[in-house]
Amino acid sequence: MVLYDSATLGGSCSGSSSSSSSSKPPPLQQRQQTQQDIDGLLAGAGYRVRSSELRKVAQRLERLETAMVNSPADLSQLASDTIHYNPSDLASWVDSLLSEFTQPPTCPSEFIMDPETNQTVVSDAWTTAEPHMPQVHQNISYQQQSLNNQLTVDNQLTVVTAMEEDSGIRLVHMLMTCAECVQRGDFSLATSCLEDMQGLLTRVNTVCGIGKVAGHFIDALSRRIFQGIGGGSINGGSAYENEILYHHFYEACPYLKFAHFTANQAILEAFDGHDCVHVVDFNLMHGLQWPALIQALALRPGGPPLLRLTGIGPPSPDGRDSLREIGLRLAELARSVNVRFAFRGVAASRLEDVKPWMLQVNPKESVAVNSIMQLHRLLGSDLNRNSPIETVLSWIRSLNPKIMTVVEQEANHNQPGFLDRFTEALHYYSTMFDSLEACTVQPNKALAEIYIQREIANVVSCEGSARVERHEPLSKWRTRLSGAGFRPLHLGSNAYKQASMLLTLFSAEGYSVEENDGCLTLGWHSRPLIAASAWQAVSDGTADFPA
């Protein structure tokens, strides 16, 4: 029996553990002993391995070597993300490294046949991961899950077995079935579907991939079924929370940066030669878009203009004037770079409550209107009054802006049929989560996911006035804006060049910028996810207003 062990060990040892092969005979005899001695020869080299585990470690090292050779060039995350506890403890160190790689479906063979007892032995390191998985899945509140357990979740196995892939596909099918039941109004069947899906989730890895997205959609569906379509808790997030989530979304992935830089470039080009300019921002948040514009205006040939910025944002509770604070910060920056600057804040909880007189536009100045993912909120139709989008578009037009920059999600989430909307949202947000996987910056990633999760919940579980995430694709916006009296402005090669450079800076290789008839879209692997366009009011008043 000892000879058998030494032969298999010799066969399975990879080059890196060659020192262990020379130490085979003495430690294996110690295997008979109950005491687990640290292997003497390896200890001399600085590694602590229990003699009984030498065989396991050697096999794992071999597997690690093949994984490193075959993995899709993802090795840098080993350097940055993994917490390597105590490399001298060779067994657990190799295990922690191995858990970083997606293993091919060889899970059953991981169970090592212990030749002495002829029993299946699963090593300690693997079993520590297993109990975590059911714990993660049975907790239904995914929001808290992603925040609290981020660290444990990251160190879990990311093993995708054939069984899991099958479960993933089944999960998608069940999601569609459940959505169809909801559309039909068959809530009892939908509820049983939900329970089945939650059971299925325990067998799917929810750290990444379809499991994670499915978890959010299941959450949204259960919210719709059990809490109704009012969407209270989702839309009730405070403005402060929203700003924080928005900020982390800004930093985790390039979509907002792309939006800001592209819009700024278009505004900069439109303001060329004008000395008195006024920018109206439909959603100020932390004002992250404007420092770059202020700096670009400061350095433009001919000197900076007088810049006025009007920021629209939700009213802040408890007396704090957050809009004014942001305005003060921007003013300080503008002062440092010698740009004459004036700020005005307009507090409004909904965009349709804003009236043009609040903006105090001077007729002699050039106006730019900037809307980053705000116009789609106006698409909810209330039959009692004029549709808000038309009201807002008409007063924008009355301001006669030099340019209106519109950035919107490139998705069709405003279809009347629930199932179509659900299907489209599933595809869209799966792609978006895939692109987030490339982000390695914590805690941005977790909070960015919560930001996206809120969008998902709003698209799926709300209706009527509560549903504000009514995304429409670029083609529909083109029709709508042309019909409201705007003509498109081409974004130009400078914007395209800047966007391409910005994306190259992001480490993930999957992002792509495309030009779409004068508009720029940013997407992940040829699926556009966000579209930026620029518009100008048609000067004569002959445009048709839809009735």
Partner: protein, 159 residues
């Protein structure tokens, strides 16, 4: 005592003019600056640890300005006041220009050199703005102590 004499002989031998170096770079600061101007960023930082004189010179922002605009035609004079207001050229180089150049270097196109600097400037400005927020906050924006919009430049890049 004999040994002492020998040592003194050595010292006098050392003070012999043929053995003393004729040229000591620290006596010629203008040449030193010319040389340091041509170093890359990392070497310049290392040079700052050589001695006090080198440290003073290497910390001079104009050296870093030349480094930022290497390979690019000299910018208009207005750029300098803006960059100094936002934190200086050394910070601009180490925080933005160097990571931008190294990442874009893999897909380097000749026409991008100036745009790289412009993009770096924009990112630098956003970073300054965030630093403003961090220092002025009354605790509200305190989560931003670690995240910064430049963090994506600091993380290692997947090749």
């Amino acid at each position: 005592m004999v040994q002492n004499h020998r040592r003194e002989d050595h010292e006098t031998g050392g003070e012999n003019k043929e053995k003393r170096p004729k040229f000591f770079i620290n006596d010629h600061v203008d040449i030193l600056i010319e040389i340091l101007e041509r170093l890359d960023g990392r070497s310049l930082c290392v040079a700052a640890s050589v001695c006090r004189l080198w440290c003073t010179i290497a910390r001079n922002d104009s050296l870093w300005e030349k480094l930022c605009f290497r390979h690019v035609s000299p910018p208009p004079s207005s750029v300098r006041s803006v960059v100094l207001a936002l934190g200086g050229y050394k910070r601009l180089y180490t925080g933005c220009v160097r990571p931008v150049r190294s990442r874009l270097g893999r897909v380097r196109r000749a026409s991008w050199a100036r745009d790289e600097v412009q993009l770096s400037l924009s990112l630098f400005c956003v970073d300054y703005y965030e630093r403003l927020g961090g220092s002025n906050s009354n605790g509200r924006l305190v989560e931003k102590s670690s995240p910064s919009s430049l963090m994506f430049l600091c993380k290692p890049v997947n090749v």
